[in-house]
Symmetry: C2
């Protein structure tokens, strides 16, 4: 994704400065979304485990667990240099509401919105 000025989004994200207040808002939104996603993964796991009757289903659950773990690890990357992209995705997936990010500077919110819509 390139801006009108031709600066790529990674450079823009790297150049953002986060105040202590913004970091605190970001951290809370991030942790809340992660906790919710982990809990829903536990719930789905228990449902799958409850239905399993044969060992072949266990190996399917093993593959599913590995995929979930990998996806969650990749998605929840708390580095400020990529955080707008993380939040954009989480908003796009309806895991974070924009309200939770209220208090971030407009430049960040606009960037996050653009990524969410991308």
């Amino acid at each position: 994704m390139a801006t009108a000025a031709g600066t790529d989004i990674y450079t823009i994200m790297r150049n953002l400065r986060w105040s202590a207040t913004e970091k605190s808002i970001a951290r809370k939104a991030f942790e809340d979304a992660l906790e919710t996603e982990l809990q829903s993964t536990v719930a789905e796991f228990k449902s799958r485990a409850g239905r399993a009757k044969h060992a072949s289903e266990l190996w399917e659950i093993e593959v599913w667990l590995a995929e979930r773990r990998k996806e969650i690890n990749e998605k929840y990357d708390y580095r400020y240099s990529v955080l707008p992209m993380v939040f954009g995705r989480l908003i796009n997936e309806d895991r974070i509401q924009e309200d939770q990010l209220r208090g971030l500077r407009t430049d960040k919110l606009e960037l996050i919105r653009r990524i969410a819509a991308f």
Copy 2:
């Protein structure tokens, strides 16, 4: 493991000839032990899954499942060239009773017994 005559056990196993009746006995004992082990794995999995509360426990179960799958795959190797060793181990682990192998020729039974005791 070498015999008194110096012939190694892999050569001895490879040189065994299995009659149709012996193959049928072997197949049944093998499948019964495998089915029992798979069922007990399913039961233990359900118990672990039922106790799990946090995602970290899911990833522990994922590791456990991978180990169980690998161990079962390695243990239940139905090739006649290694079958006495497989049965020796299964008897040693109390997963097969010698009775289930009744009908195999004495040379095979003695070999299996020696491996079980090893």
